[in-house]
């Protein structure tokens, strides 16, 4: 009589450590090398019935302090005019992304200034709730 327990098949032992090391290296590489879309410092306004965004426009972010931020950089009137001039040769379209808590008057005043600079088509960027 064979009283010995049947021998188990040998466990397949794969060492995962090198794989994990590589994945970590890749993760760190992408974290350092990749640029994420810069986060706006504002709390965007919300509005229903808004349409899809087009990408070819110059976006001016208006912060709560009434500062103008274009592509992550705070700019003044002069720099804005230069940018607008440059933008005219491209799409010529301008969008404003205001902080929802900003005084509405300041938004109207920027729109006015854009109008004076000959920008007729201005859109507002909001988030759909």
């Amino acid at each position: 009589m064979n009283l010995r327990a049947p021998s188990k098949p040998a466990a397949i032992d794969i060492d995962l450590t090198p794989l994990i090391n590589i994945v970590f290296l890749m993760l760190i590489f992408f974290m350092l090398a990749g640029t994420l879309k810069p986060r706006d410092v504002i709390q965007a306004a919300e509005m229903e019935d808004a349409s899809m965004i087009e990408d070819d426009r110059l976006v001016i972010v208006m912060t709560l302090d009434g500062e103008w931020v274009v592509q992550g950089q705070s700019i003044d009137r002069q720099a804005l005019n230069a940018l607008l001039e440059l933008n005219k040769s491209k799409s010529g379209k301008v969008a404003i992304k205001p902080d929802s808590r900003l005084a509405a008057e300041q938004l109207l005043s920027l729109t006015e200034q854009l109008r004076e600079s000959g920008i007729l088509e201005v859109t507002l960027i909001v988030e759909s709730p």
Binding site: A11, I12, D13, I14, L16, T17, L19, I20, V23, F24, L27, M31, L36, K37, R39, A44, A45, E46, M47, E48, D49, A50, S51, M52, I53, E54, A95, I96, K97, P98, D99, S100, R101, L102, A103, A104, E105, L107, L108, S109, T111, E112, L114, R115, E121, V122, T123, L124, I125, V126, E127, S128
Partner: protein, 123 residues
């Protein structure tokens, strides 16, 4: 074979992408508020009225203070009676962007075709 290290990594990746991605959807609305578009609009033979927006929920229409629901009902009634096609929203200093946008969206829903904005002094 221990799966723990693999799961650790997957969790780290998950956490990274959760923190790094942005799911909020951006939309656009057209925005014509300037003096010139107002002049154009006022030059048109449109029946118009001016609404003073003083703060959230405080409006003046024809010198009468109204809550938002009253205001919207009044605008809808005038629009239905064919005596209102253009609303001019006069915005005071205290009003923030969100308040203004909320009001605009609701006015548009009453059927009024055109809404323009201006910065107000005191009414």
């Amino acid at each position: 074979m221990s799966l723990t290290p693999l799961i650790d990594v997957v969790f780290i990746l998950l956490l990274f992408f959760m923190l790094a991605s942005n799911f909020s959807q951006e939309r656009t609305v057209s925005w014509n508020s300037s003096a010139e578009s107002r002049k154009q609009a006022e030059g048109l033979p449109l029946e118009s009225t001016r609404i003073y927006l003083q703060a959230a929920g405080q409006h003046l229409l024809d010198g009468k203070a109204m809550a938002q629901s009253e205001l919207l009902a009044e605008l809808a009634a005038r629009h239905a009676a064919n005596s209102l096609h253009l609303a001019i929203v006069s915005v005071s200093e205290e009003v923030d962007v969100q308040t203004l946008l909320d009001l605009l969206a609701r006015i548009k829903r009453t059927g009024v075709e055109k809404v323009v904005m201006e910065a107000s002094g005191n009414p």
